[in-house]
Amino acid sequence: MVVVVGAGYAGISVAEKLREKGVEAKVYDMRGKGGELAEFAKIDELKEYYAKYIEKVDESEVEVIKGCVVSTNPFKVISPQGLEVKKEDGFFICTGAVDLTPAASEIYGKRVAGIYTLETAIRLLAMGKRIGNKVLVVARKEEDILKPLERYLVEKDFEVEVLLSKEPAEVYGSRRVERVEIGGESVSCDALVVYGGRIPFNPKNLKGKLAGNVVECTYDYEKVEKNVQSIMF
């Protein structure tokens, strides 16, 4: 049997494509269907921005098994039901990407409360949490998701400043972010959201065909889509 690890956009797409070819794959995900798209769907502006990808996942009838795949050979899955160990034939690794840490994104200074990677900030916002009131977003590279995110934050009465800058930044504050110095300027804020780029998220080093956001890591799902296409055809 073929196994797809990860039920985000890439995983679901791969499973759909396999189905078209007459191959029924088993899809596993440690958190459930949708991956980070499921988080985006909880934020109106992002839901709209990623609409076609979210719809595709929603409409898919591919069944997702909730379980954490910790190795492929032997195939091991941990879930609240227990530990399963068996043998499977082929693997598609669709475990997605993770943001670079603040340190890897050249954020120096105090490690106080209120510093988030873009990914963590989005996840918290999707839970309906306020990540602060005055948010500084420091992006090391352009990423289109920042625009709808900014709109959302403004809509929710956050004060927002988005800085596209490669200058090192330094955080000041006693228990929480109070200000950030970047490029010779001092920005007063109580939350810092950092985007320094993404890298593959495959900590267990699962072996198989890499698909989707593990290949070129991004928030741009057109690239994820392209990668899935190139793998399946």
């Binding site: 340190a103 050249e106 006693s174 228990r175 929480r176 900590p203």
Partner: protein, 453 residues
Amino acid sequence: MKDVLIVGAGVTGSFIAKELSKYDLDVVVVERKSGPGLDQTKGCSGIIHPLQLPFGSLKSKLCLKGNAMMDAEAEELGFTFKRVGLILVATNVITFLAIPIIQLYFRLNGVVSKRLSKKKVLEMVPNVREDIWGGLFLPTAGVVNPVEMTASAIRFAKANGVEVHYDCEVTGIERKGEGFVVKTTKGDFEARCVINCAGLYADDIARMVGYEMTITPGKGTHIVFAERGFSNHLTVAIPLKPNKRTKGGGALIGFDGKPLWGPNLIDVDSKEDTSVKKEEIEGIIEKFSPLFKRRPEGVVAFYAGLRSIAGTDFVINQPVDGFINVAGIQSPGLTAAPAIAKMVIEMLSSRFEMKRKEDIKRPRWTRLSEMDDERIRKAIDENEDFGEIVCLCNMVSKAEIIKALEEGGCFDTVRHLTWAGMDCCKCHAEIMRIIEEKSGKVKKEIEESEIVW
């Protein structure tokens, strides 16, 4: 009235509490942070040192004694301790020629070491540069997770009757009869004896009973890299001229195998200044890079800790009857902690009838990452939260996150104790969600350091 009140749940306070909990005594620990080991202890390098110069100093003696005790402590308390060994590398002919002298000097002071040929050094650390001359191996050097080590001592102490209060800052101490009244942000405590393990603030506490001392903070910055296995030993170049104030740091490794470079030593004004400067990071890279052919891949984090420095040695004394200072515990305090605890017990034995308890409890911490398949199945069977992986990088389950909250209700305790979210930020939001679900709020390390909402 309590028998003993300990100020501070850092590694020394926790180990003293652990040791005292084996006796028929009423002991309380007060800590200003929200969990154990979150100030000076958290910021250290986690190295169990093989030795400390100058030989003969109190810190050197306690270092050697503590190092020798560490296997038994790890066994008793259930924390992870790995004797990974330290390689002193001779990078030039002068330090190479000095190796036999260094080895003899170490041996005369009871420290074992083994000479390594150039070939052997390259074999042990394949990433070391080819033009090194040779080295000296110190097998007794080791690594721990300092917060885990501290928390495991506190857990043991609590299981054996010690009372621990977090978010509890001492604001004053008054003499009352033979004992003391210790005023805190959580009310007054009366105790026959007070042990000052307040780390960076030990001078403030000592002053409350009229003992004058000054603690100066010495900052040490570190870089954590992602590439596990870059080196499997602590690697340090033999300096041409040793620095009297610091061992000089090194290309260290964490207990999880990730490269950990540093620390430097920077005198700072504030006891809260754990800021990491760009120049410091560049300085560390510049200092340790020449040892290797390349740098380890991937930066995970920068962090700085503060050493509490009171002159050149530890200050362990009893300036006022019933008040014991355990202050100025700079490096190698982590290594010395078990030996310091024994020393304090000795000091207390003239005051209390030290009657050992008959039944001593040994609580255990369960880690999914250390279990085999059979034990994983059993653990999930008993508690399905073990089947819910929160941190995939370090294989931490929801059950462990919830358990960690009992040891200290804040984000830093959960992360440092379970090691969840220490490789990337993927699970941080999930950890915060669980913390909020269980305790109603999320703080980083202390009251008023709210992370979100």
